[in-house]
């Protein structure tokens, strides 16, 4: 039996708009470094991997760094529960991603690009390697790319081995260097001290795909979409209770309830925005917009209908964090376990409200005291689910499931 990853024809305002392989690279070579950085700056593009750091700033810092080697790393570790847009980009739009990497290499002055592909996506390795071989044949990689004197650049693919935390950029670099994927203290940031100690840009797959369009069509064109604080469009990975799960390209600023209509979700009780590390948004807040200024997300949208047991959902998230914590710092290593103990106590109807309040406080401490984004965000779902669904979960003495309308 063959494995079965579905692909389909897509269209969208920005990322899924028309683009032919190498167009962006050609335009970049004409524009030159300064103009590329200028267009990026105008575009207002922010990182699509979750943290939302302005891409132009990251590239400028690396371009300006004085070093004899630099790297561009494409973060294809896509491990956040409910996220699968990078899978679609890599399988269906490799030209956008790879052209974006080449453009980054040219702009910052790197000779090598590395794609860190999560181990779970090993089935993509051969097609992507074949694609790179084609690019080499057509001089989109290699020496004097497309006739540009002294622009030598190549891309290699490195696999992860099943560790969510390796998506964190400094853990990713540790992993590339052959170590355990444990996040580093920052600063120094990768733009200064990255792979093997050299200045390194780490960008999400979707960020790089957006760059190819921006360079070709201009920062002003990109900025026409979205809101003033969240320019352009976003790929949303939609799963859970809806008729049409999948990847949608929508402008930033869309309301949650509008998105729910598009994907034909019915009787929705809650939406988890941003995956396990994001927040749970209840029905009363479906007027909120998706964007850096309100509900920010790397793209994961998980929908829960009236029949779902929110305590069970929360428990699933906490199991995830306990497994994926690297264990390096105490707030995260111990804190997640303590939160889980609380969940089990609630399940058994064996808790006091002051105990739950203490756990929420612990969660807030983890948000400030953890070393990396994993432990800083793992309490988000605990806090938001217990706050939004206190009636279902806490007022029923843990018997929530039986009290929820079927």
């Amino acid at each position: 039996m063959k494995s079965n990853v579905e692909t389909k024809k897509r269209s969208g305002p920005v990322v899924f708009s028309e683009y032919q392989r190498s167009e962006g690279i050609k335009k970049a070579l004409q524009l030159g470094r300064e103009n590329i950085l200028f267009e990026l700056k105008i575009s207002g593009l922010k990182g699509r991997g979750g943290a939302g750091f302005p891409t132009a700033t990251k590239w400028m810092l690396t371009a300006a760094a004085n070093a004899n080697k630099k790297f561009i790393v494409c973060n294809a570790d896509e491990g956040e529960p409910g996220t699968f847009k990078d899978r679609v980009l890599l399988l269906e739009y490799p030209e956008l991603v790879f052209d974006g990497i080449v453009i980054a290499g040219f702009t910052i002055g790197a000779a090598s690009g590395i794609i860190y592909l999560r181990g779970e996506y090993e089935y993509m390795l051969q097609p992507l390697e074949d694609y790179l071989a084609e690019m080499r044949k057509d001089n989109l990689l290699g020496k004097n790319i497309l006739g540009k004197e002294n622009f030598n650049f190549d891309i290699s693919i490195r696999l992860g081995s099943g560790a969510y935390v390796c998506g964190e950029e400094t853990a990713l670099i540790e992993s590339l260097e052959g170590f355990r994927g444990e996040p580093r203290n920052r600063p120094p940031y990768p733009v200064d001290t990255g792979y093997l100690g050299y200045p390194t840009v780490v960008n999400n797959v979707e960020t790089l795909a957006s760059v190819s369009h921006i360079v070709l069509k201009g920062g002003e064109w990109f900025k026409k979409h979205g809101t003033s604080k969240s320019t352009g469009s976003k790929l949303f990975s939609v799963s859970g209770d809806c008729e049409k799960p999948g990847v949608y390209e929508l402008p930033w600023g869309i309301k949650i309830k509008e998105l729910l209509e598009i994907v034909e979700a019915k009787n929705t009780k809650a939406v988890q925005v941003g995956g396990a590390s994001g927040t749970c948004i209840a029905k009363s807040q479906f007027d909120r917009i998706l964007g850096y200024e309100d509900a920010a997300t790397g793209g994961s949208i998980i929908i829960f209908n009236e029949n779902r047991d929110m305590l069970k959902v929360l428990k699933n998230f906490m199991e995830f964090f306990i497994e994926e914590s690297c264990g390096q710092c105490t707030p995260c290593r111990i804190g997640n376990i303590k939160l889980m103990e609380g969940i089990i106590k609630i399940e058994n109807g064996d808790f006091t409200f002051s105990y739950i309040n203490n756990l929420k406080e612990l969660g807030k401490t983890m948000q400030v005291a953890s070393k990396c984004g994993l432990g800083q965000s793992s309490p988000n779902s605990f806090i938001s689910i217990l706050e939004n669904f206190s009636e279902e979960i806490l007022h029923t003495n843990g018997k929530g499931k039986e009290n929820v309308k079927a």
Partner: protein, 157 residues
């Protein structure tokens, strides 16, 4: 392990070192290659890798213990990883789980007696729109139900 097996493993690792290099970034790639072929990284393999990369064997072990796709104990010829994260859970992962357990007569974390299959859980595979999903070695299968899942596993050699 027999002496001739050791010799061939040493030769294999020497070739990997030739291919990936002997500096530190090569370590994870070499371990992944050994894991892919043997489904585990034996003590002997760890020692040989450490020797050729000029690092302490404990360093090698510490990498293996960190990454969930690497292991130091033998497993089945095929590794099946069922996604247990929320979207697959809501799409019916529990039913697939029980059917697979019943059919193979083992539970998750175990290997069949004939060494054909090891069952494991894994976190989100990036197939949440098509769940329940599982990996069989490096191949991904989606939209599973109890019957299709079992059929897929019965075809695995």
């Amino acid at each position: 392990m027999f002496e001739y097996e050791k010799n061939s493993l040493t030769e294999e690792i020497e070739n990997l070192v030739k291919h990936y290099g002997s500096d530190r970034p090569a370590l994870l790639q070499i371990l992944q290659a050994v894991q892919r072929k043997h489904k585990y990284i034996s003590d002997f393999a760890q020692q040989e890798i450490a020797r050729l990369l000029n690092i302490h064997p404990v360093e090698v072990y510490s990498i293996i213990s960190f990454y969930s796709f690497l292991c130091s104990e033998p497993k089945g010829r095929n590794i099946v990883r069922l996604c247990r994260t929320i979207s697959c859970d809501m799409a019916g992962k529990d039913k697939v789980e029980s059917a697979v357990k019943r059919e193979l007569g083992i539970t998750f974390g175990e290997t069949t007696n004939d060494g054909r299959i090891t069952l494991e859980f894994t976190n989100c595979l990036g197939m949440c729109d098509q769940g329940p999903a599982m990996l069989v070695n490096d191949k991904v299968y989606t939209h599973l139900n109890p019957e299709t899942a079992v059929n897929i596993l019965n075809e695995v050699k």
